[in-house]
């Protein structure tokens, strides 16, 4: 280990939180037949976003606007807030990293759910935070337990994804609003709404733009189909939003990416089409799962989590067999969620490819 590292850095593992499908393909020596593990949008981005990306490529010699002015303005208009309420960043992952840096030092108490988004934990632990993980209630993150733990631990942050990843479940927005109303004064709700564009109406909590108790995170990686561009945004009261300027990599959201996101946001027709196709794919994947004896959990996202009906070892075996049969999927990391595998939605052909491989994989176990 390098002798120049801080004690905290020395204590951290050198890890990549997710093994990429490319790494698995290199190990397997062949490409996957279907890429259904990272909740990417197989429906792709808006053709208008694609055109904007291609057009902006010729401007790549110029740095992107470090203030992200046009994109921030469009996001603000979209949400009925001011640009001062918006932070643009390198995906939700990047924004979570900056938020952790701004709010967490060694020993800072932070609450999340056991089995929820690991990259949040990566950033909190990376700044020395002390994580408390409360169990899911069934297939849902549990606002009551999260609140209790936040009060008990005097937590600086409490994380909740609505809809949830990896289970695909959701709470009505009113449940989140109740949680916010009960938060202790010194606790900030980190509300990850990466999948909310694909959830039933009323899933997004109604939050006053200047409410200091919550920061909301959105992304262009899911419904907008631009995971490879890496751009997301946060909505927060201006005091917190402005604080990101203290630490962010100002030019990191590049020129091409800003142009693509701007076009994606404007193309509501494409978003509606993705929603419709997502609903159809959920039904199709549900049928496939049931036909093979797996239980599809209700989903408010662009993936469906399939309960394999036994323990984590069995689900691991299903996942490993699927990998061998050319399907990239992932699964929750901890019990009891790890009885499931998580399958991204796609068009009819992709779902059929999955179904075919699932049949062969289950037989091979």
């Amino acid at each position: 280990m390098s002798r120049f590292l801080t004690p905290l850095a020395q204590s951290l593992p050198s890890s990549v939180p997710f093994v990429g499908p490319e790494t698995q393909e290199r190990r397997l020596g062949r490409p996957f037949a279907a890429r259904l593990g990272a909740n990417e949008s197989l429906f792709g981005p808006s053709p208008k976003a694609l055109a904007a990306l291609a057009a902006a490529a010729s401007q790549v010699w110029m740095y992107g606007d470090p203030e992200n002015h046009d994109l921030k303005s469009a996001i603000a208009a979209h949400h009925g807030v001011t640009p001062a309420h918006v932070v643009v960043g390198e995906g939700i992952d990047g924004l979570l990293g900056y938020l952790a840096r701004l709010t967490v030092t060694e020993g800072t108490a932070v609450v999340t759910s056991l089995g929820a988004y690991p990259t949040f934990n990566f950033h909190i632990l990376g700044f020395g935070g002390a994580l408390t993980r409360v169990p899911y209630r069934g297939n849902h993150e549990d606002p009551e337990s999260l609140l209790e733990a936040a009060i008990r631990q005097r937590a600086r942050l409490v994380y909740l994804a609505n809809p949830d990843n990896p289970m695909g479940s959701h709470h009505p927005g009113s449940v989140i609003e109740d949680l916010i109303a009960q938060l202790p004064e010194d606790t900030l709700l980190v509300l990850d709404e990466a999948y909310v564009d694909l959830a039933p109406p009323e899933t997004a909590a109604r939050v006053a733009p200047d409410d200091p108790r919550v920061i909301r995170l959105r992304t262009f990686s899911k419904a907008h189909g631009m995971a490879g561009a890496r751009v997301g945004y946060a909505l927060a009261e201006p005091g917190l939003a402005r604080a990101f300027d203290k630490v962010r990599n100002h030019f990191a959201v590049g020129r091409i990416v800003q142009a693509g996101a701007l076009a994606a946001l404007a193309d509501t027709d494409h978003l509606h089409s993705v929603r419709a196709r997502t609903l159809r794919a959920r039904a199709q994947l549900g049928d496939i799962a049931r036909a093979h004896g797996l239980e599809p959990l209700p989903s408010a996202t662009n993936f469906v989590t399939l309960d394999c009906g036994r323990d984590g070892d069995y689900a691991h075996a299903v996942l490993a067999a699927l990998t061998q049969h050319g399907i990239f999927v992932r699964m929750p990391g901890v019990a009891p969620l790890d009885r499931c595998i998580r399958v991204s939605l796609g068009d009819e052909k992709a779902m059929a490819t999955f179904g075919d491989a699932l049949g062969r994989a289950l037989k091979s176990i």
Copy 2:
């Protein structure tokens, strides 16, 4: 200010280190006639890189490889090292941020030059580091003073850019090699080689790949003409290189960007052509400057720093007048460097546009 911030975060200013030209254009109410302030490459990227960017756009629904495998391998081959010696990141700025996080805590001593790259300072101060700034010697960062200060302050890091920004000067690689040989055991040299592709031969220091005393930083933003993609890399011994996995935003260098950088690196013909055009533009800009009574400093970069021959107030007035005449340029931030303005190189037409505006600007003061 948000009540959730750490004491360190509370103490930091909410600032954008560089005001972007887009912000200035919004203030002016019109676009610049020439964009010569950010050391972007007006010669643009390789046409092969452009084609790769456009082709990759159709894959934007997929996250980029979080291990940057192909790009890392190509960079390693290019430099005759292994992929374990390479870190790919969100530009040199992003890599400096991660390096600061890995090595700096509150009070850690760090040495740089007074007037050198401000974003390095932004990151060091952002993690609570204690900066010592030593003066330039003439127009050069001064290895002797840097070394003395590093020894005196027991510095964890010492920063040196070769070639230098904002002065455009350079040291032969052997000078850097001598500095490395004399570094204290606990000091890491942060060697910023953003502009080295455009410098005379023998400017790049010869560093053994496993030398733990130095980390070198390179970028696709300058000679490769891809500032708007935001991708750079570091070369370091594997123990330090691997440490970046402890903290980095693993998916931040997106799929399109990785593809573009890979193609840019392979196109050595384009790089040679950019070098040749840079030499011609340096001569042309030098002639223009001298014709207007300004002194062009010798440059090993894609910009030329012009000594306006008086104090900082006068150079500020020149810069302000140039802005009014439609030219985006920048200038060093502190005396005595701030007697200069810094002008990026471009084709004959861009340089002529600058010359024309310079004449009018000087008359208007």
